[in-house]
């Protein structure tokens, strides 16, 4: 049977199956008729699996594209919206990521791009029934939010993470016009907070809200409107309020929504006690479904015990806004035996981390953030001994983000021996170029131990004084590594060459302030098409080197960001990514695509 014929039938067919069109026989390549294949494929949700499915044969490619409901685009410039809507006709949910990750640390100039509007205008025509939009590091304007609110009548879920360019006016449009809104999740954005009245724009008829997260907004909202909203949305399971909500108000909200699974509190202290905290403790006890607690701003040993009744079933505790001391954390963790994920500030110290090791045997993820990242003298924080203490008590630990001022090779080797299952190892020794403070040697052996001992390592961030040896280890042993972050490390081109020559699964590589030059860049020529992106800033790249790369690899976008201070021949910031959309048409003047 002619493959083309079958493909036409698949394209013409709508959702219902016409028995006359179904072929009793099929090609030897594809024994399943479509009406079997598509329902089976619709159970596959992982975009990586779907990608694999689509490569099997043309029938499967077609069946997959018709059954896909969610599309994930890791780099908004790797493909154009037209190509996406052309391939996938029935999308209900879109995830889009924009700027390179180092934009979080102010390394990407403003107006770089990643504007969501061009996407929205295409999506509005192709997917008028779009339900979900999740954006990360995109530029989102109020106009875009208004467009979104007005053009997608079935719209249900909006998630904005690390986006910028909008204000609370945009949120007003969403609240006012999205009649079926189930999720509004606003996190860590560069948002212009003009006031809290957006919350009052939710109509009285809206009862479908399941997720509401406005923790990162600063302005006060109308509490009575919030209380009414929470009361009428019986399916609300995630509520994360902002700092302006006080304990009394939180109490009232919890009484209205005891079914919550995730709670972000407001300010968790009071200046003057007008009602004993025993009430609040009992209220927490009545929230039987709580799995996550976050917020807890300014809390201390007077108020923290209020959450103890809810702690036994908690799986995720985010204390990264609460400057707890070691004993306060210890007293809390005694009650948290089911904890899988914990985020803390380094104010808890090594003793706090010992408590983690003692009381949280099921812990899988630990993130320790610096309370005072720019303080140079009198720094307390955590050290290698806290790290080791956690690893001893938490054998299931597989995700760590650890900010510290000192570390030793031996400690890291011990940690990975205790926890060989690491998938994500992100160690940030905050003092630049800091060696092992005991032996004064580079930290090469630490990361060598990590990559040798942890076969499942997917993500690695290195720091401290590092020579090319670190990268030799990484290239040789990190077979599953997908994401690597490097800053102020390495001795020569060899470092980068080692990584590009090894690490078969590398997808994202971000490098800043390393002595890697053109020869190293060009050694990875064939690798970049198998990667999502490469970022190199303040290294030794020149315009000529980048031009050679651009010429050899036409399916890569090689973008150089010029800034006024650097010399003309230097390529100060380089962002390289594979794309099927060609060079950017919206590049600002300081971005040169070679």
């Amino acid at each position: 049977m002619d493959l083309n014929q079958k493909r036409t039938r698949t394209v013409d067919r709508v959702d219902s199956v016409d028995p006359d069109l179904v072929s009793p026989e099929s090609t030897p390549m594809c024994p399943f008729p479509d009406e079997v294949l598509e329902p089976v494929l619709s159970l596959i949700n992982s975009h990586k699996d779907r990608s694999s499915v689509s490569l099997v044969c043309k029938d499967w490619y077609n069946a997959e594209r018709w059954s896909r409901r969610h599309v994930f685009i890791g780099n908004c410039y790797s493909v154009s919206p037209e190509i996406v809507v052309g391939r996938f006709p029935k999308i209900r949910s879109v995830t889009l990521k924009g700027k390179p990750r180092f934009s979080d640390f102010n390394l990407v100039p403003e107006d770089w791009g990643a504007d969501v509007y061009p996407w929205l205008s295409v999506l509005a025509k192709a997917y008028p029934f779009l339900e979900e939009l999740r954006l990360k590091r995109m530029a989102v304007s109020d106009e875009s939010l208004e467009f979104l609110a007005m053009n997608f009548p079935e719209f249900k879920a909006l998630s904005l993470l690390s986006c910028d360019g909008f204000s609370t006016d945009g949120l007003k449009a969403i609240a006012t016009h999205c009649r079926n809104l189930a999720e509004l999740d606003i996190q860590e954005n560069g948002i212009d907070d003009l006031g809290g009245d957006w919350l009052s724009c939710f109509p009285e008829t809206l009862t479908t809200l399941q997720v509401l997260n406005f923790a990162s907004l600063n302005s006060e909202v109308s509490f009575s409107d919030l209380e009414k909203l929470v009361t009428r949305c019986k399916s609300l399971r995630v509520l994360k309020v902002n700092r302006t909500i006080n304990l009394d108000q939180l109490q009232k909200l919890l009484l209205r929504a005891p079914q919550l699974t995730e709670l972000g509190t407001g300010t968790f202290t009071q200046d003057l006690v007008t009602r004993p905290v025993a009430d609040l403790e009992a209220t927490f006890g009545s929230c039987k479904n709580l799995l996550t607690i976050s917020g807890l701003w300014d809390t201390n040993s007077l108020y923290l015990p209020v959450i103890y009744p809810a702690c036994a079933s908690l799986t995720f505790l985010n204390l990264s806004c609460a400057a707890l001391r070691s004993f306060e954390l210890a007293m809390l963790l005694i009650h948290c035996k089911s904890l899988r994920r914990l985020w803390v500030l380094d104010t808890v110290g090594d003793m706090g981390l010992e408590a983690v090791g003692s009381w949280c045997p099921l812990l899988e993820e630990l993130r320790v953030f610096p309370a005072d990242p720019f303080e140079q003298e009198n720094v307390a924080g955590v050290t290698e001994s806290g790290f080791v203490a956690v690893s001893r008590g938490c054998p299931k630990l597989h995700y760590v983000l650890y900010f510290c001022h000192q570390m030793t090779n031996a400690a890291v080797a011990t940690v990975v021996q205790n926890c060989p299952g690491f998938t994500h190892f992100r160690l940030c020794i905050m003092n630049l170029g800091q060696p092992d403070y005991v032996t004064n040697e580079p930290m090469d052996e630490a990361f060598g131990a990590v990559v040798r001992t942890c076969p499942n390592l997917q993500r690695l961030a290195v720091s401290g004084l590092l020579t090319d040896l670190t990268f030799e280890y990484i290239g040789k042993y990190a077979k599953n590594l997908e994401i690597l972050s490097v800053a102020f490390a390495g001795s020569s081109d060899l470092g980068l060459k080692y990584v590009l020559g090894g690490c078969p699964r590398l997808r994202k590589l971000e490098i800043r302030d390393c002595p890697f030059g053109n020869a190293a860049l060009l050694s990875g020529l064939t690798k970049y098409e198998s990667m999502r992106s490469l970022w190199m800033s303040a290294c030794n790249l020149t315009m000529n080197g980048c031009r050679v790369l651009a010429k050899e690899m036409p399916r890569l976008n090689v973008e150089v960001m010029k800034d006024e201070d650097s010399e003309d021949s230097q390529a100060h910031k380089v962002y390289i990514y594979r794309t099927v959309a060609g060079p950017r048409r919206d590049a600002p003047p300081f971005v040169l695509t070679l």
């Binding site: 979080d104 003057l272 905050m430 003092n431 201070d565």
Partner: protein, 191 residues
């Protein structure tokens, strides 16, 4: 947004003489500059003291102070502001003694506001010190129903009712305290 100078820019104006020194730690704080083979590449070598850094071709960093490096440590900007309030408190120096007077008492007292974390604690401290009852604070009525009303003199010289503003704001503007008899305090708490 990219206004601050990066590590490389810091050393733009320094003489690029190629000179490696192995001195003892602490002998000289000058960062060394090594002229590398690529132009425009500015690196410094740190004084490793008695370490084995003798290879002239090896580039090392002299770690610049953190404030001068854009985007380091890699902490998101919203996280930097979390402890702003706490930091201000600790920067105010050790001890914040203010005079406390109580109407009718023969002499004044002094207390250290930094010993307290909240109004509640301060009230308890005052009640113990002066053996009086101050009672609860209500936003609208002030300290209605109690015989004594705590007031303070702020930076502008005005006498204010204790409890209206957040604690941190209070201790940064409070210059002295006065516990008034409630009959004299009429008018202070009324809106």
């Amino acid at each position: 947004m990219d206004q601050k100078k990066t590590t490389l820019d810091l050393f733009n104006n320094v003489d690029l003489a190629t000179e490696l020194r192995l001195g003892l730690p602490g002998t000289d704080n000058q960062p060394e500059i090594i002229k590398s083979s690529l132009s425009g590449n500015k690196r410094t070598s740190s004084e490793m003291g008695s370490s084995t850094c003798t290879d002239e071709n090896e580039s090392r960093f002299s770690p610049p102070t953190k404030e001068q490096v854009v985007g380091w440590p890699p902490v998101r900007s919203y996280r930097k502001n979390i402890l702003q309030v706490k930091k201000t408190e600790s920067e105010m120096g050790s001890g914040m003694y203010v005079k406390v007077s109580m109407d009718g008492a023969p002499y004044l007292r002094k207390l250290d506001l930094k010993m307290y974390q909240s109004y509640e604690e301060l009230m308890k401290g005052l009640q113990v010190m002066f053996k009086c009852i101050i009672g609860l604070y209500f936003e609208r009525e002030g300290y209605n129903g109690s015989q004594h009303v705590p007031t303070y003199e702020d930076k502008d010289g005005d006498w204010m009712l204790v409890g209206d503003v957040p604690w941190e704001m209070f201790i940064s503007s409070c210059k002295r305290l006065r516990i008034m008899k409630s009959c004299e305090a009429r008018g202070l708490g009324d809106c």
